[in-house]
């Protein structure tokens, strides 16, 4: 794939032609409250409207308002724009706009940049009245040049002050203008976007911002050697753009789920924020419970009385909800549980991504508690999987998990506008009389499934219990009943498994290396695999959307490859590190699970840096794997 790395400056003249590139990764970083995120979101929206693939992700400091000009306090946004669909945040940024130089340090530590990255930096700090700041500025710039960055100092503040009195409120739109010239964004679409974002504030805010945009655009045209074009695919398809949490919120509403019962937890809460704002328009309500346990208890109560509810949380919340999850499994209560995973264990990395809850959700309950677990792999799937989850929860009379993560939650990307189908909505509560002779847990021996009486149904009265119970929900004093009921609950999961299709392999269906992943890493894995295949490596990948039950045929697929590696964002030991051997090595979660299920010697490639998997890291792992494999082959022959 052609990229814009090692930017070659073009000669400055107004009629010069932009260089065609297939994608750009841009970052805008500032102190909190300077509007970098609004600037990046607008750049993303304009690009999406032009038909480009887009992925934006916010760079969020751990605190709400960290001190200005602090190294760990970077607030900002990354925007990846491509000619084709963009499914992840990519690797190193190619161009960065910084409102001050200090906030760049944090990003350098996070390896967001590499030699050749263009750093466009506000130059007003060079002449700051405080000597300390002037020195910091010069030291930082020297450092950035030493590590190979291509530093360009520009007078953002000075130029903005020509248009407005307070540059702090408006620099972001000037930068949007500058970037719009650099990447040849459609000026009309850009100005429409400005009208749109400031619509509520009226002309007295819109007009100066449009002026700032134009000033930034013209300044870049006159002063910068950077000028690119990212060709787009024009499409007539209606698109929407949102993050994964908003997509979950829309999924909840489109599923006809009336009740969202939640307790605030990062990074899940913004899904409930959106619901709190929007769900009234579809006749639902958000309940903010007193704690995580009450949140799921309330949801279970609602589900029990006929309104299947959703509870949205993250890892620590799942830990607290565990006892209720067991009850929902035991008493067969339909329920949708969204887990937007973050770094763990304990409080861990609240704002950062990890796929660390798989085994906790699968096996975290005491006793045997089989449940359905889905993992969306894109923002669009966040929407559709909640709809699917409610249907499965009701059809299979069981809790259903949707495992999203902080990467999907904060990533913003366009996708085709869903055509809302009223068949997605939950039906009104069934209040017809209960059929005579049918018991409250009349398990089918073939499927384990049974019909559920709902309060209000005449003659359906039963007492739901978390105690072992028989078909009539009576407390089981005969141990055979416990064995029988456990078998039936497990059989439901098998019944669902039988209805699933064999998943499709991306790439050849047999070969040397198969990468296997789940959840938000799909885009990055596929991008790395495609790059590796283009480089001649015989590698394919398989992405799982059902974690419980597993889709059929997975073992047969893996058997057609010489080596299988699970790629995921959670912890695994690396053989060769102190004390770590093949025998005592602890595997990543999906690898552990699939090794147990398939008896195949699956390797783990995983880490807990709290960052989304980057295509480059995966690509390098593929390279290393083949190098080792070829070396072993040589040694053997």
């Amino acid at each position: 794939m052609e990229t814009a790395t090692n930017v070659e400056a073009t000669p400055k003249n107004s009629t010069r032609k932009p260089i065609k590139i297939s994608e750009a990764i841009v970052e805008i970083v500032s102190d909190s409250g300077e509007g970098a995120q609004k600037c990046g979101q607008s750049l993303g929206a304009i690009s999406a409207k032009m038909g480009n693939g887009v992925w934006t992700v916010e760079i969020i400091p751990a605190e709400i308002q960290p001190p200005a000009r602090s190294r760990a306090g970077a607030s900002g946004i990354r925007v990846r724009i491509g000619s084709k669909k963009v499914t992840n945040m990519g690797d190193h940024a190619q161009l960065v706009v910084a409102f001050n130089e200090q906030v760049l340090f944090g990003r350098v530590t996070q390896r967001a940049y590499k030699p050749g990255t263009v750093l466009i930096i506000e130059n007003k700090w060079a002449n700051d009245p405080t000597e300390k700041i002037r020195n910091e500025y010069h030291e930082a710039l020297t450092h950035f040049k030493e590590i190979g960055a291509d530093v360009i100092e520009i007078p953002m503040e000075e130029e903005c002050l020509k248009v407005v009195r307070d540059a702090r409120k408006g620099k972001n739109m000037w930068v949007l203008g500058m970037l719009s010239f650099i990447y040849s964004r459609d000026k009309e679409k850009a100005e429409n976007q400005i009208h749109r974002i400031f619509k509520k504030k009226g002309d007295k805010v819109i007009l100066p911002n449009v002026e700032l945009f134009r000033a930034g655009y013209q300044w870049a045209q006159a002063n910068l050697d950077l000028h690119f074009e990212i060709p787009a695919m024009e499409t007539d398809e209606e698109m929407v753009v949102m993050n994964g949490n908003e997509a979950i919120s829309f999924g909840v509403m489109a599923a006809g789920i009336d009740v969202c019962s939640m307790y605030p937890i990062t990074p899940a809460t913004s899904a409930s924020h959106h619901l709190a704002e929007a769900i009234h328009s579809v006749g639902g309500i958000v309940h903010q419970a007193e704690d995580e346990i009450a949140a799921i208890g309330f949801a279970i109560g609602s589900s029990y009385s006929g309104k299947t509810a959703v509870t949205i949380t993250s890892g620590p919340g799942i830990a607290l909800k565990t006892e209720f999850i067991g009850l929902a499994v035991m008493a067969e209560v339909p329920l949708v549980i969204v887990d937007v995973q973050r770094g763990g264990p304990s409080t861990g990395l609240p704002t950062k991504v990890e796929q660390g809850d798989l085994l906790a959700v699968l096996y975290g309950d005491p006793g045997d508690a089989p449940k359905v677990i889905l993992a969306p792999s894109s923002i669009e799937e966040c929407f559709h999987f909640v709809i699917l989850a409610r249907k499965l929860a009701e059809s299979f009379r069981t809790p259903v998990f949707v495992l999203s993560d902080a990467n999907l939650a904060t990533g913003v990307s366009p996708f085709p506008r869903p055509k809302i189908n009223e068949e997605w909505f939950a039906l009104p509560i069934d209040q017809s009389p209960w059929k005579e002779g049918v018991r409250s847990y009349d398990w089918s021996d073939d499927t384990g499934l049974s019909q559920r009486p709902i309060p209000g149904m005449k003659d359906g009265m039963y007492t739901l219990t978390g105690l072992a119970h028989d078909e009539e929900s009576h407390v089981a004093y005969d141990p055979a009943i416990n064995q029988r009921s456990a078998e039936h609950r497990s059989r439901k999961i098998a019944a669902l498994q039988q209805s699933l299709k064999v998943p499709k392999v991306n790439g050849d269906e047999e070969g040397d290396l198969l990468l296997i992943g789940w959840g938000s890493t799909k885009g990055a894995i596929e991008e790395a695999v495609e790059k590796a295949r283009a480089a001649g490596y015989n590698v394919s990948n398989l992405h799982l959307h059902f974690l419980s039950p597993l889709e059929p045929g997975i073992k047969e697929i893996m058997q057609k490859f010489k080596k299988v590696v699970a790629v995921e964002i959670n912890y695994s030991d690396v053989v060769g590190r102190p004390l770590i051997t093949e025998e005592n090595r602890r595997h990543s979660q999906l690898a552990f699970y699939l090794r147990a299920v398939t008896l195949i010697d699956i390797d783990s490639y995983s880490n807990v840096f709290g960052q989304p998997m980057s295509p480059m890291r995966i690509f390098r792992m593929i390279e290393r794997t083949f190098k080792l494999y070829n070396k072993q082959k040589e040694e053997n022959s």
């Binding site: 829309f250 309500i285 346990i293 109560g301 509560i429």
Partner: protein
Amino acid sequence: MIGIKADLTELELPEVYYSIGDYGSSTARWCPGCGAHAILASVQKLCREEQLPPEKTVFVSGIGCSSRFPHYMKTYGFHGLHGRALPVAEGVKFRRPDLDVFVITGDGDCCSIGAGHWIHAIRYNVNMVVLLFDNEIYGLTKKQTSPTSPVGTHSNTHPEGSFLPPINPIQSTLGFTNVSFVAQTADWHPAHLYSTIKKAHEHQGLSFVRILQRCPIWMKDGFTSCASEPKSLTLLDHSNGIELDDQVRKSFEQVIEHNPSDIDKAREFVELEDGSLPIGLFYQNEDAVRYDKYGAHNLNMPVNQRLDGLNEQLDKYAI
């Protein structure tokens, strides 16, 4: 009543009449002499007197001796987790205002493991009846100190006698924000017990009723001994309080006149100087904010309206 109606065709006669037997399920498995038997009888009597449709009535409980209660009712029931009856019951009622919800909880369930939910349930003030079966001991797990056990209670966790002062659930509840109904009664006084539960059921909001309950197995010296001592109870009486026949009222040796709209006085009567147990209505306020009214907003929105609403929301994200 029928005599004053000239035209009988205007009378709404119920199609079915529920008898006590219609509310009874399997035989209760509590110990002989346990106060819970009397409470079950009172609740079943209420169901019959009010002709509550069994399919519209839900008993939600936690875990403990008392929480087996729903299994002995032939209504809908939810025997859930230890301490967690209240959030479940709130969820049951939130989008189902047509259901009549009762919560059955014990002193360990409500005042210890579920104490957080208790505070918030009082504040939510969802329209339901909460019956706290307070026998001052953990029974099902075999005699551990409960948060309401009197100082000096010899239990398996405090064999030398408990030393922390007990929580008085009435005192606590009267301190929680948005409280709307607080009453105390005793399992061994069937007339007062029944009238209290009836009053609680009539109240619009969360009715919190602490029932002093005998446990003849583990707490022989507690309420079990009070039951045979008429002077152990003092009646809080008022025309707006618990309705009692004059004969029953006269049977009390100690009576205090208490207006249930007066929360300050209510707090004074939580513990009486003579050491007797006050029973009656401590506090009632039907104007307290009700969360279930908020919950019932926009119930059963028509499909077309939902479709339009959702598409309007999606428009905001269209590009």
